[in-house]
Each structure stands twice: as structure tokens, then as C-alpha cells.
Symmetry: C2
Subunit: 347 residues, 2 copies
């Protein structure tokens, strides 16, 4: 098992990324290929005891910066760390790649270099989302701004495979994000997709879901288009940050503000631990011929380690094969059923 790691991605620099690679190589007994400028990698490796670990250096001289147009940059910078890492997956030299860099760059490298699984119409970005009970997964959160019902059907199948084999959820409950939980609520896309999903074998579809119920933990897999999904996760994140800031202000504004500050800091620390999704390894681009994991830019060594674990686990579980099988089994039958189901939608 070989996972290629873009050492140049991430807000904390190559030191943190390489520390995560060392942890992963040690914990999971796998090869982690370190892709980037050899001198930087060598000097970081020298700070650790790495004897016996499989950490080959794969040279890459360029970096895609955060401000660059992803698709153009991936095409232009053929020796960038992310393109070299993705090419290793395409050539079968690695089973997956991990980056904490530019999400757009990872998407472009994944789609152009690694390529889609046969039968997959659109790869989708899946991410864990915290609920009161634990975590669910939501897809698509940004790879496809405009989709059709049959894309959402494939997202449901891919999400179910991911929840089962990577998140360890038995018979994951699939729901579609809507503006009301009742059947018949939604925009045209959701209403059409609802009927198609209800007629799709091999998934445990339970209907519409609203944000409130997602937060309550009523779904294991939330299916949505990449525009709505992106707005959804960003709104939750922005609201959580605002609330934490305002709570901190209010807790430290009272007459016994030092006690309030102490308690607030401790509570916020526990809150962050509880909502911490780093062990789930960030977002994964599902539907490609290899595992492509996009760790948060803010990833520390521990989060990088888990992102590598997710890539390894997906590769070991043959997620690609299971997705291909799932789509082959469910979708052709489903699209026949779906056609008639869709005709029943009132217009």
C-alpha cells in the first residue's frame, strides 16, 4: 500500500505535513510517498527518527498557490507536487493521494489526472459533518454546482458505500437535503431526485431532511447538489464561529468575568474537541479511480495522519470497486424505475 502525500499543501508548512506522514507510516505500516522539493523533505525528515519506515521522496519542483485558478494551474504546472502525486495514482504507483492544499487544485488534479470510475457521471466531494450525536457525511459539498437527479442518485450510492466502509455505519440512512421534511417539498431537482432515490435499490433512503434534523443526527448520508451543500457547510461553520465569539464576549462581560473567561475557554476547548472532525480526514473526492483526500488547510500532523488512514482504508476496502458495483447494480434498474417514478411528479 502506497499513499502519495503532497508535502507542500497546508497552512502549517511541510514540517507539519511530514510529521503526519511519519505518524501514519509508523501506525499503519504503509508506504507514504513524500512528494515535493527533495531538499525541504530531507531536512524535515532529519528532525525525526524514521529508521525502518517507508517514506520515499518523490521530487516535484512546483507548487500551486492558494490564489491560482485551479484548472489552469494544474494544466500549466506539470511538475507541481499535487500533479505529481495524482499522476502516481493514475499510473498505479500509489493507491491514493492526500493534500492539505488548494481544494480546487485537488479537484482539478483528481478529475484530470486520476480520472473517473467507469459509469460515474460526476465525482463528488464528501465531508463529515458534526451532529449532536456524532457525525454524518454530506455530499456534494462543492465539486458540482449544477447537477441532475441521476447525479444525486449516484451521490447517494457513493455516500452509502463511504459511510459503510470508511465511517463504519451499518445500513446508513440516506436523506436528501430539502426546505421541508415532508415528501413533495423541495425545488424541482429535489422533487425529481426524491422519486428516483425512493426507487433505487441497495440504499436505505429515508426521504427529505432539514438542517435541524441533520443536526439532531437523523441521517448518516445527506445528499445535495454541490452549490447547496457548500452553502450548508459554510453557513454552519460561520454560525458556529459567530456563536463562539459572541458567547466568549458575553461570558467575559459579566461581573465575575475572570471566572467566566476561565470556564468559557475550557468549555470552548471541550466543544472543539467534540466537534473535531480531524480523525475523519477532511473531504474525499468520491467517484475517481483512486482515493483522493483533501485534508483541511489547517491540518496538524494528527489530521494528516488520519487523512492518510482514510486514503489507505478506502483503498484497502476497494471503495472504487464497491462504488462501481453499486452504481452498476442500482442505477440501471433505478433509472428504469426512476423514469416512471419521475413521470408521476406533478408539474
Amino acid at each position: 500500500m502506497n499513499i502519495a502525500l503532497d508535502v507542500m499543501g497546508g497552512d502549517h508548512g511541510p514540517g507539519e505535513v511530514i510529521a503526519g506522514a511519519i505518524e501514519a507510516a509508523q501506525a499503519y505500516k504503509i508506504t507514504v510517498s513524500l512528494v515535493g522539493p527533495p531538499d525541504i523533505i530531507r531536512s524535515e525528515l532529519a528532525k525525526h527518527a524514521t529508521t525502518g519506515l517507508k517514506l520515499p521522496i518523490v521530487p516535484a519542483s512546483q507548487v500551486i498557490e492558494m490564489g491560482e485558478k485551479p484548472a489552469a494551474a494544474v494544466r500549466a504546472k506539470q511538475d507541481s507536487s499535487i500533479v505529481v502525486a495524482s499522476r502516481m495514482v493514475r499510473n498505479g504507483e500509489a493507491q491514493g493521494f492526500v493534500t492539505a492544499g488548494n481544494t480546487g487544485g485537488a479537484l482539478a488534479a483528481g478529475i484530470f489526472q486520476v480520472g473517473r470510475i467507469e459509469g460515474i457521471l460526476r465525482p463528488a466531494l464528501i465531508t463529515p459533518f458534526p451532529t449532536h450525536r456524532g457525525f454524518c457525511v454530506i455530499l456534494d459539498v462543492g465539486a458540482n454546482a449544477d447537477v441532475k437527479p441521476e447525479h444525486l442518485q449516484q451521490f447517494a450510492i457513493m455516500g452509502s458505500v463511504y459511510a459503510r466502509h470508511v465511517m463504519g455505519v451499518n445500513n446508513p440512512r440516506v436523506r436528501i437535503l430539502s426546505n421541508g421534511e415532508e415528501e413533495g417539498k423541495g425545488n424541482q431537482l429535489v422533487i425529481s431526485a426524491h422519486n428516483l432515490l425512493a426507487a433505487t435499490p441497495g440504499i436505505n433512503f429515508q426521504g427529505n431532511v432539514e438542517s435541524k434534523e441533520i443536526v439532531e443526527g437523523m441521517a448518516d448520508v445527506v445528499v445535495t447538489d454541490g452549490f447547496t451543500g457548500n452553502v450548508f457547510v459554510k453557513t454552519a461553520e460561520a454560525t458556529a464561529k459567530l456563536l463562539q465569539r459572541v458567547m466568549l464576549e458575553e461570558l467575559t462581560a459579566g461581573p465575575i468575568s475572570s471566572v467566566g473567561a476561565f470556564l468559557a475557554q475550557a468549555a470552548l476547548r471541550r466543544l472543539r474537541t467534540r466537534m473535531d472532525d480531524s480523525q475523519y480526514g477532511g473531504a474525499v473526492l468520491l467517484g475517481l479511480a483512486g482515493m483522493v483526500v483533501v485534508a483541511h488547510g489547517r491540518s496538524k500532523a494528527n489530521a494528516i495522519r488520519h487523512a492518510i488512514r482514510v486514503a489507505k482504508q478506502g483503498a484497502e476496502q476497494n471503495i472504487q470497486v464497491k462504488i462501481q458495483e453499486g452504481v452498476a447494480e442500482s442505477a440501471p434498474r433505478a433509472s428504469r424505475l426512476g423514469d416512471s417514478a419521475m413521470k408521476a411528479v406533478p408539474t
Copy 2:
């Protein structure tokens, strides 16, 4: 000035609604028509000193319940409080109506009974949204699940009129909700609408906005389709509730939990006051021939009073006329410009 009030809406019953009507009649020196079963209204009025206040009783024998299908219920129950109130607006007997009942019922009554302003393609639901600095307004939050760019253009015009004349914002900054702040980000709808909005005179359009920036207070008017807008406000609300619950759990979990609980309760109380939108009167259905205000189901007397104020203020300011003028001035020119602007969008 006469505002019709559906006394049968709201979670706290007619007593709370009527108390709000009395406060409003007193504070704003206007007529508030109390629409509902006369015996209930009389017995509630008897609990207050109402001498000199203009609070006529308008009989209505039916109620639309929360579980009913709104459009069907509005058609079937012609003597329901919400239908009678909306009919008063249609007939010019009242300048607006206020309800804290079923939002769907209010939309149906507003659209079927009150009717649209000439030139308005789609009425839209607008609501205040808390930011770190204060409040912005967002529309549509649920009246139209599927829209076209020209609908979003009208929402921008209506939202600007509302922000200026009801929220008191000078030269309101209009932005469109997207999955990225950069121009060119968005789904097809947003990209087309962005170009149309940029070419619309009479509004202060500043481009795309993400959730993070809305929360930071970077927009006064946020324009979006009713599906995304509904998901947006519900996600923010659900996340805020989850965070408050988890913060309370964490603050009371520590070794000095009683102090934590005391501080947390006080901080949460201040937080809720700070985020309290009751003075903005809930959601308003813009684009109709009269003011239609949908107060929160949870409205207490004070929130009902403010909802009545919003209806009164909108009517006094001739919001309907200003919207009609705005659309007549901006949209025809804009749609000519918009056509050419839209041709420039890369496909």
C-alpha cells in the same frame, strides 16, 4: 391606517396576539382590526384597558391549522381568520395584514387574496438575519423554490426598497449568496443573475457573498432563491441551537458547574437578546399589493406589536409604490443590458 391582525395565529394563543395589538394601537395611534371569533376577542379585550383605542372586531369563524395543506386550506376555508384578514387588504379596508400562524397559509392568502403588484413576477419572503454587527435582510427565504435570474433581479430591487425604508439603511449593499465570493463562482443561476444585477441601475450591487461574510456584516441585502435561502436560515438557526445546547452542557460539566451554569444562563440570555429579531417583525412577503407580515409562531406581545409596526411603516412609506417604481425603472433597462451581459458569460 388600518392593519388587520389574525388573532388565531401564534403558539401562545389569542391572548398574547391581542395584547400585542393593544400595545400597537396605543403606541402608533392606528386602527388594528382584530380578526377571529368575536367571543374570544371580547373576553381577551376585557382583560385590558382599551378605552380610546381603535380595535374593531372583524368576525371570522374558521382557523387554518398548522398541519393543513396551505393552498387547499386557504381555498376551502373562506371564513378563516387569515383569509378574512387578507380579503380586507384586497378590498382596501386595511393597508396590511399580520399573522403569526402557518407561513404557508400566509403565503397562499397573500398571493391568492391580496395579489401581486403590477410588474412583479414573483413575491418573495424577506427576513432579518443577525450578523456580528447587527442585522441584514435576506430574500427569498421560502416563497419560490425555483427561480430565474430576472426574479432574483426583482428580489434585489425589492430588498433594497425594504432595507432603505423599513430597516433604515442608507444605500444598502446588495450581494448574491454564492459558494465563493469571487466573480464567476456559483451555479448557473447565480452566474447569470450576477451579470444581470451588475447591470441593474438603482441598486448598490457588490457581487457575491459567502455565509462567513454575511455573518461579518458585509451585506445589507442578501439575494438568493427560496430553496437556498430557506436552507441557509434554517442551517444557521439549527447550528446556533446546537451550539447553545453543547455550550451549556460543557459549561455545566466542569468542576465548578454551578458557577458555570449561572454564567452560562446569563450569557445565553444576553446572547438571545443580542440576536433577537422580534423588533424587526418577522418575515414580510414583498411584491404584493398590501403589506403582508408573517410574525414568528413564537411571537410574544412585543413581537406582534413590532410586526404591526412593520406593516404600518411599509404602508406609510408606500413600499408597494416604491417597489413598483423601482421595478419599472430598473428592470426594463436592466433586462436589455442584462441580455448582453448574459451573452458574455462563458459557457
